[in-house]
């Protein structure tokens, strides 16, 4: 646990908190981007180059942009005056979040003693990941690709109908 880790962890947590607590929706989206970037830095700090860069490429380059677009195209970025920013079902949300956190924490605590400290860290290059994806895990990859293509076609069909109905 180095100084860099604490710095990145603080940044990530601050970004996550800001995403929940800020009033303006676009600010929330930007804060969420900071949290994404923090996660990517954590991956990079663990020498997981591919995961880190993919995190930046997908989450900052695509997901954050998509979130921002969705906010702009659907409604204003200001929160309504009455009611505040908290949902009425915040208690249920809290319970779900706590449950997820507890499960993750339990999993982490369970796995920690299982790691033998003496074995050297495996060096995984991007090439190895590519070979694994194209060789052993080619079926899951193709299934995901099919799913994404179906989603894309579905999105196009939804957009087309809307256009025809509008005219």
């Amino acid at each position: 646990m180095s100084f860099a880790f604490y710095l990145i962890a603080a940044l990530t947590v601050a970004g996550g908190l800001a995403a929940v607590l800020l009033k303006n929706t676009v600010h929330c989206a930007l804060a969420l981007t900071v949290a994404f970037a923090g996660l990517a830095f954590l991956f990079l700090q663990l020498d997981a180059q591919f995961a880190g860069f993919a995190q930046i490429l997908v989450y900052i380059g695509a997901v954050a942009i998509l979130v921002v677009f969705a906010i702009l195209l659907t409604r204003g970025s200001e929160t309504p005056k009455d009611g505040g920013i908290f949902s009425r079902t915040w208690l249920a949300g809290l319970a779900v979040a706590a449950a997820v956190f507890a499960m993750l924490g339990w999993a982490v605590l369970q796995s920690a003693p299982g790691l033998p400290g003496a074995t050297p860290e495996p060096t995984v290059t991007v090439g190895d990941i590519g070979v694994a994806l194209m060789g052993r895990y080619v079926l899951p990859l193709e299934i995901v690709a099919l799913l994404l293509t179906a989603a894309l076609i579905g999105a196009v069909i939804v957009a087309m109908h809307e256009k025809e109905g509008g005219k």
């Binding site: 600010h27 860069f53 930046i56 490429l57 942009i65 991007v126």
Partner: protein, 391 residues
């Protein structure tokens, strides 16, 4: 002698770092390299602005800047002083923090892209295993800064410019990535230094650059189109089309913040040209085997400046596209061609040496180009040319 000239910057860096105590040397090495990049490319930017204005002037039959210094060469100095002394105006209703951060995010992310570019033999700041992936990851983050600038200005022109910019960048980023993937397929590496090494061979005195293969030429054309769109250069400059949107997403920026946007755009142009040079034009390798004695960095920057010249030439030549033309072009022409190019690259890889693969790969690409282009043109229903005169 040749070795010294080739490695002069590397030797200079080692000498500078060697002056410091041992403990500081690793840090100092990084600092010196970063400082060199941060100083050199803005200087190149200053020169390029004069070059661009002179070149555009030449294309448009006028003289261009010629009042400051000999041949207007001091124009960027005057521009710099002007932008530093101008008032920094922030609109009253603007979102202060985001408005302030946007140009910074742009310039910082663009500068990071230079870290993985091999600018000469042994001249790369961070020789990463996944260098290309790093570059694209960083490049994708610049979109966010454009959006931040447009949204925080609270100006409808800014917002429209930002929306146009982001839509355009997302569309053409697909083409940018797919055209580069062909190179990765053939060279078998995401490391930019390895990609240059793979092209640094000669047969009959001619280089094995990827642009001199059917899939490489097609990929390079797609890459060039996509980079022009990614950097918001004419004919893809809709996000800042001055006749429609004042200045697009940076309408509400003045003084040095505007200069930062300007700098960011030119730096993006440099770095993306450098990447194109690395991927398709052999990076720092010489164009003929008898010219390998010329320093490697000279070739890299020559190719870079040639690309910049083409950008300027295009800007002076082509009219701006319409929004629907832009999107149709990206999704109906460039994207299918890129996908086909991946297939052709695979064929090329597995057909082995010989003339047959040249014929088959070229035939597929030319047939697809002609077929797609013909189909698209037919759908547009372009009639006979008509003229309208002012009455």
């Amino acid at each position: 002698m040749f070795e010294t000239a080739d490695q002069i910057f590397v030797l200079l860096k080692h000498w500078l770092v060697g002056l410091l105590p041992m403990a500081l040397q690793p840090v100092a090495g990084v600092v010196v390299s970063v400082a060199a990049i941060v100083c050199f490319f803005p200087a190149l930017f200053a020169l390029t602005t004069v070059f661009e204005r002179k070149g555009l002037g030449r294309i448009q039959n006028r003289i261009g800047p010629n009042r400051t210094g000999p041949f207007g060469i001091l124009q960027p100095v005057a521009d710099g002083i002007k932008s530093l002394t101008k008032e920094d105006i922030v609109p009253l209703s603007a979102d202060g923090a985001v408005h302030f951060l946007a140009p910074l995010v742009l310039v910082v992310t663009v500068f990071m892209g230079f870290a993985v570019l091999p600018m000469g033999r042994n001249m790369v700041l961070a020789d990463m295993d996944a260098g290309l992936l790093f570059y694209f990851a960083i490049g994708a983050s610049t979109e966010l800064s454009v959006f931040m600038a447009g949204w925080s200005s609270r100006n409808k022109y800014s917002l429209m410019g930002a929306m146009r910019a982001v839509a355009q960048m997302i569309s053409y980023e697909v083409a940018l990535l797919l055209s580069s993937v062909a190179v990765v397929m053939i060279s078998g590496s995401l490391s930019l230094t390895k990609i240059v090494e793979a092209q640094n061979h000669y047969s009959y005195g001619l280089p094995h650059w990827y642009i001199f293969t059917p899939w490489g030429l097609a990929g390079f054309v797609m890459y060039a189109i996509a980079t022009t769109a990614e950097t918001n250069r004419s004919p893809f400059d809709l996000p800042e089309g001055e006749s429609e949107l004042v200045a697009g997403y940076h309408t509400e920026y003045s003084g040095f913040k505007f200069a930062l946007f300007f700098l960011g755009e030119y730096l993006a142009m440099f770095s993306i040209s450098g990447l194109g040079t690395t991927l398709f034009l052999g990076g720092w390798s010489a164009p003929f085997s008898f010219l390998t004695w010329v320093p490697s960095w000279f070739w890299f920057f020559s190719k870079l400046m040639m690309s910049i010249f083409v950008f300027i030439w295009l800007r002076g030549t082509l009219p701006r596209l319409r929004q629907d033309q832009l999107m149709n072009f990206a999704w109906k022409f460039v994207l299918p061609m890129c996908l086909l190019n991946l297939l052709v690259a695979g064929l090329w890889r597995f057909m082995g040496d010989g003339w047959l693969r040249w014929v088959i790969c070229s035939a597929i690409l030319v047939a697809a180009y002609v077929g797609l282009g013909w189909e698209e043109m037919r759908r547009m229903h372009i009639g006979a040319r008509s003229y309208r005169y002012a009455e």
